[in-house]
């Protein structure tokens, strides 16, 4: 759990981050969104003391961060930046081993960790461990960057536009991988992004910033249904509000018993994907694929439309 309490950063008397308070629950993903220059990066870099706050307090698991030497604090917090920042003179292995070595882990434990992480990110040890960063694709470099941040098993991972440099297809894959890894390892993630779809796809909660102030910190659904003000409403995309709401839920939530014609939809589809399929195929209802022997279930256009208009 991270408690940010009335934190501010002033440059030349101007508040770049202005009395921001938020409580980030453990084992959740929080996305910080906002216009350029709204203070997202500054807020994030105060958490691992790359920037010193002007006033206010940040606690991680109850401990004030100013109680620890900055470099020691940072070894316990994973940090991923846009453009990955891999060390070009070190192999993938050495890059990932960075923090464990700083923490003086023994060799066997480090090797085991590197193997484990490469496997987690679907990079084969024998072919990748000895490569240098310039011998990797952009997507692979990005994965190694995240692996390096996770090597010392931090409870908290800070990510500043981690997928900003990736093309859309690889980015979508990286996002779902991150979500899976977070579920598996259970760390808390604080992530800055420009991409509102990314924020909705990934996060449990979204923080909207403007001009240094935190306007709203809430679950994605709440931002859509009860935006704190017109800026938040604008930011989360009023025009796409209905689609965003649908993309937050799976079809099982609105499924009903009954038959329908045509191809069955996979059960793990989001409501948005189901709507798209129904509109495209011109049906009013579609069957949902069920395990053999279960009663037939379906999703209907009318229930999807009702869900999209939810308040």
């Amino acid at each position: 759990m991270i408690e940010i309490d009335e934190i501010s950063k002033l440059y030349d008397g101007r508040a770049v981050v202005d009395r921001v308070s938020m409580q980030i629950p453990a084992s959740t993903i929080t996305a910080i969104v906002g216009t350029s220059g709204s203070g997202k990066t500054t807020l994030m870099r105060m958490v691992n003391r790359l920037i010193d706050q002007t006033s206010g307090q940040i606690k991680i698991n109850g401990q004030d961060i100013t109680g620890t030497q900055p470099h020691e604090l940072r070894r316990r917090i994973g940090y991923v930046i846009q453009g990955h920042g891999l060390f070009p003179h070190q192999t993938v292995y050495d890059n990932i081993a960075t923090v464990p070595r700083l923490l003086k882990w023994d060799r066997a434990k480090i090797e085991q960790k590197v193997r484990e992480l490469l496997a987690l990110f679907q990079l084969e040890f024998d072919s990748f461990a000895r490569r240098y960063p310039h011998e990797l694709s952009g997507g692979q470099q990005q994965r190694v960057g995240v692996a390096r941040a996770l090597a010392a098993e931090p409870d908290l991972l800070l990510m500043d536009e981690p997928f900003g440099a990736l093309d859309p297809i690889i980015r979508a894959k990286a996002q779902s991988d991150l979500r899976d890894i977070q579920r598996k390892l259970g760390m808390t993630i604080l992530l800055v992004t420009h991409d509102m779809d990314e924020a909705f796809r990934l996060s449990d909660r979204i923080a909207v910033m403007n001009a240094g102030k935190l306007l709203q910190y809430a679950e994605p659904r709440t931002l859509l249904t009860h935006p704190a003000d017109s800026f938040v409403a604008e930011m989360v995309g009023q025009a796409e509000r209905a689609f965003r709401l649908l993309s937050l839920n799976g079809i099982d939530a609105i499924a009903e018993d009954g038959q329908a014609a045509g191809a069955a939809l996979p059960a793990d589809l989001t409501q948005r994907e189901a709507l798209s399929d129904l509109l495209w195929s011109g049906r009013d209802a579609a069957p949902i694929a069920q395990p053999d022997g279960n009663a037939p279930r379906r999703v209907t256009l009318s229930r999807l439309l009702a869900a999209a208009a939810e308040r």
Binding site: N48, L50, H71, E72, L73, R74, R75, R76, Y79, I81, Q82, G83, H84, G85, L86, F87, P88, H89, T98, V99, L102, R131, Y132, P133, H134, E135, G145, R148, A149, L158
Partner: protein
């Protein structure tokens, strides 16, 4: 093909130099063509090999000291504490370069006396700039994302310097050292005017007695030394830089 031909020429030249140092008399008939009947053809006052080694030692000593000073200065002025000294250190070092080495020699002799001392000082003074400039450029042009990652992963300032900044700066620093050493090899010849033991002695002796064989011997040996240093430092530089500076067309 071209590279192979280049190294072959270098190797033959090296062999020739070696043969000349060990068996100068083999070259006597050719060199005799350059001088009058009863002049000496081979410089025998000091053993040529030992002069060459002393020349080399002087250059190595000067370059080592210059490298230590210049690299330390470049590190210092690129730290937050030293950034105020950046302009100052730059002007000091460029003064070192605009000052003619002969003037440095002349100024040092009254203080240090004749011999190797003044030459050493002039060479150090003279060798600082290329190393400093290169080290500075190298340290200041490291990808900010890489430095941010180093800081973000919890490296202390000395750890950042030793594990990230210096290794990344090394190829450029070594090329500065190479430049400085090659300049020093040439500059050291004038040291013999204040009685430093260098190959300049052979050239000066030749100039004084119109002995073109001496001038040629000295000149060629100095050139050989410069090439030797240039090539070995180039190899070192490659070792540091090759893998990561390689372009992506080597991608597996």
């Amino acid at each position: 093909m071209q590279i192979a031909a280049g190294s072959l020429t270098r190797a033959l030249f090296g062999l020739g130099i070696l043969a000349f140092l060990v068996r100068p008399e083999w070259f006597e008939p050719a060199l005799r063509l350059l001088v009058d009947q009863n002049m000496p053809v081979i410089y025998l006052q000091g053993n040529l090999l030992s002069l060459l080694l002393q020349h080399l030692a002087l250059v190595l000593a000067a370059t080592t000291v210059a490298a230590i000073l210049a690299i330390s200065a470049a590190i210092f002025v690129t730290r937050p504490v030293g950034s105020d000294f950046l302009p100052l250190s730059r002007s000091i070092v460029s003064i070192g370069q605009t000052f003619p080495p002969v003037a440095v020699l002349a100024l040092c002799v009254p203080v240090l006396g004749f011999g190797n001392g003044p030459t050493l000082v002039a060479l150090i003074f003279y060798g600082l700039l290329p190393i400093f400039e290169n080290a500075l450029t190298a340290l200041r042009t490291i990808d900010p994302a890489v430095l941010e990652a180093a800081r973000g992963s919890g490296m202390s300032e000395p750890q950042r310097l030793m594990r990230v900044e210096l290794p990344l700066a090394m190829p450029l620093i070594i090329s500065g050292i190479r430049l400085s050493a090659v300049i020093s090899v040439a500059t050291a010849t004038i040291g013999s005017t204040v009685a430093a033991k260098t190959l300049g002695e052979v050239i000066v002796a030749g100039l004084q007695s119109y002995n073109y064989a001496f001038i040629l011997q000295g000149g060629v040996l100095v050139a050989a030394l410069a090439l030797l240093i240039h090539d070995s430092l180039t190899i070192l530089e490659r070792r540091f830089g090759l893998r990561r500076l390689a372009t992506t067309d080597g991608k597996p």
